[in-house]
């Protein structure tokens, strides 16, 4: 594999035990030869003990003791595999409504969401829920895998019916790129190898799709945003005057000589250098971690944002977000929370609840204003000081925020700025 060009693709899966999600992941790992012999032996012996015929691929995704005992996925588990074309990170999440928060967590950084549909059942509530979350979190690509085709004699008609059914719910969502693949995770059809039983399907198998999907444009390369994490001041010989602003470029491209504005102060300067350790770069782009030095000595600290003078984010202290509540304790309207947005931290409160989303029916509920765990609602947030924000749909990193409870220190909510 060529390490200098090989990319990283993150994808999420959601589902419960019966969907064949674990079998699909097991199949991907097994057929791409990403499973080691000692892992395989362990699973063969467990399969035998449980009385399964052959290797139970689902056992590859076994997690914590409680999950093994109950046969469910509770929390996100991360798995890894590499092919000669790409490195993959799977965020394996549960599918049940009571674990919506875990699905949201796994989806937050994914390039691709895999939505599994059982060919026997077609589009069900869970399909809508998973798709809505993928759309809400703006996962750039969706791959709908119509699974268990082997149980329906690999019939094309059934596949087409499901595609049509799914397209009818798409109208309620904001999904840009969706593709469909008929598979049998159990038998291995169209997962890694092309199915011989579904010659009517012209598309590529799942792995090939994941290997070739165009993902370079998933990151916003237009709006340069550089939230400052920390200031590097070596104060040692040779670097007495060095003052580097360390951070990750969250979107866009920055070049030496660019005219920049520092927010929220509004001071202007020019980029003197972009450094990665001893290397000086002429330009750098998202998601690179760099340190930036400026021509002028201005007061900049953590939480400030360096942007290009001609392309600036909104600077606001009251805005609407789609909020997903992650905590057992219900939301307290008008109570103070800590809001964390990029590297900035302020106080905030939920000023108003506009509506709650019924993510099974895809309907808005404007009556019920109490925010419970796993609820997704549109709210108005007010902060003590202005934040430098973009709309989430344009920028996943300057458009997202979390709320932290000041009493328990727990992360209680995640929000996508509208």
């Amino acid at each position: 594999m060529d390490l200098s060009t090989s990319q990283l693709l993150r994808f999420s899966t959601a589902g419960s035990v019966d969907d064949g999600k674990s079998t699909l992941i097991g199949r991907l790992l097994y057929d791409s030869k990403s499973i080691f012999e000692d892992q395989l032996e362990a699973i063969e012996s467990t399969s035998l003990k449980k009385g399964h015929v052959g290797v139970d691929l689902a056992l590859f995704t076994d997690g914590l003791r409680d999950e093994r005992e109950q046969g469910i996925t509770i929390d996100v588990a991360y798995r890894y595999f590499t092919t000669p074309k790409r490195k993959f990170i799977i965020a394996d999440t549960p599918g049940h409504i009571q674990y919506t928060r875990n699905m949201v967590t796994g989806a937050s950084t994914a390039n691709v969401a895999i939505i599994l549909i059982d060919a026997r059942h077609g589009v069900i509530e869970q399909t809508k829920r998973h798709s809505y979350i993928a759309s809400l979190l703006q996962i750039p690509h969706i791959i709908v895998c119509v699974n268990k085709m082997d149980l329906l004699d690999f019939k094309e008609e059934r596949f087409n019916e499901i595609v049509e059914e799914y397209e009818s719910i798409l109208s309620k969502m904001m999904i840009k790129d969706v593709r469909f693949i008929p598979i049998s995770a159990l038998k291995g059809d169209n997962v890694v190898k092309r199915s011989e039983k579904m010659n009517w399907f012209q598309g590529a198998p799942l792995l090939h799709t994941l290997e070739t999907l165009h993902i370079s444009s998933d990151i916003n390369k237009i709006d340069a945003r550089f939230p400052v994490q920390t200031v590097i001041r070596p104060q040692r010989e040779g670097f007495i005057d060095y003052r580097g602003y360390a951070g990750r470029i969250e979107s866009g491209i920055l070049r030496t000589g660019d005219e920049i504005t520092v927010l929220p102060s509004g001071f202007k300067s020019k980029i003197k250098s972009i450094d990665v350790q001893r290397k000086e770069l002429k330009e750098a782009f998202a998601p690179m971690s760099v340190s930036i030095t400026l021509e002028d000595n201005i007061d900049i600290s953590r939480g400030d944002m360096i942007v290009r003078a001609d392309n600036q984010p909104r600077v606001e202290q009251e805005f609407d977000v789609m909020l997903c509540w992650l905590n057992n304790a219900i939301a307290r309207p008008n109570a103070k929370y800590t809001i964390r947005h990029t590297t900035n931290e302020q106080k905030a409160m939920i000023k108003n609840v506009l509506y709650k989303m019924d993510i099974n029916k895809l309907e808005r509920n404007t009556e019920d204003k109490q925010i419970n765990m796993n609820d997704i609602c549109r709210v108005t947030i007010r902060t003590t000081k202005p934040l430098m924000i973009d709309e989430y749909r344009d920028n996943r990193f300057t458009g997202s925020m979390i709320l932290v409870d000041e009493g328990t220190n727990e992360t209680v909510a995640a929000g996508m700025i509208l």
């Binding site: 060009t5 990319q7 990283l8 080691f36 012999e37 000692d38 892992q39 076994d62 997690g63 914590l64 409680d66 509770i74 929390d75 996100v76 588990a77 991360y78 798995r79 890894y80 790409r86 490195k87 990170i89 949201v104 967590t105 937050s108 950084t109 993902i215 370079s216 990151i219 390369k221 994490q229 920390t230 590097i232 070596p234 040692r236 040779g238 670097f239 060095y242 580097g244 360390a246 990750r248 491209i253 450094d275 990665v276 350790q277 782009f285 998601p287 690179m288 971690s289 992650l326 964390r340 590297t343 990193f397 997202s400 925020m401 979390i402 932290v404 220190n409 727990e410 992360t411 995640a414």
Partner: protein, 303 residues
Amino acid sequence: MKMKKYYLNFLDELESEAIFILREVAAQFRNPVVLFSGGKDSIVVAHLAMKAFYPAKMPFPLLHVDTGHNFPETIEFRDSLVEEMGAQLLVGSVQDSIDEGRVAEESGKRASRNVLQIATLLDAIESNKIDCAIGGGRRDEEKARAKERFFSHRDEFGQWDPKNQRPELWNLFNGKQREGEHFRVFPISNWTEMDVWSYIHRENIAIPSLYFAHDREVIWRDNSWIPVSEYITIDAKEIPEVKKIRFRTLGDITITGGIESDADTLEKIVEEVSAMRQTERGNRADDKRSESAMEDRKREGYF
């Protein structure tokens, strides 16, 4: 004109992610340390930390939990690296914990100080008022680790509650804690063994000689070559012999098994690892104790 490609290859992306995490640690905690074992993962973390803050020095001391059952090569390497980096070294000693009666030494042929390290580590965290311990743990190592967060909360007893972890979304990390609690942070969570080796090779990072093939006196135990040392009990059926081996992971000399190998350069190691059909922890007796050995130790406060 050739079109410029504005994307990172995956090693660069993993590096950038790790540097971002390390800088968050520096910004969010008052007294963080890097847990340093002398193994390749903690060496990579130290290397990334140097990169993240250059030209300033790495703003974290190194903390070594010393079981007393070390490979001499590991200690030599540790001391030379500390000197080169100009870093501060803190040492928590398992022998001291035993001498003070805080823990009891295991006995028998399979005795190991692996579990004893937990008490020493937690004592070192408490006595040095450490609020964040940065580790080289990776999610691909083991199924309990696959559930680990980048910023992983530990209660006042140092315990991990895997069922009640803080959600971690986008690049927003919450390191808020009460007095007496602490965090474990894992900057290379998303790296695999192969990624670590490719990176060591690419960056030409110095590692202990133990990782390269060398002749050593060993015995065959639990499907791997265990080094003969003053710390292990050898029974009559185990016959010491000299083999050309190298280690894939480094832990206590009593539990770290080697593999037969001729790989004596980084290129050869990378090549060998990419063809491996066994997981790296397969040679670690500490993980073979039970199916949930890692989860159980992690709950108690293990690395």
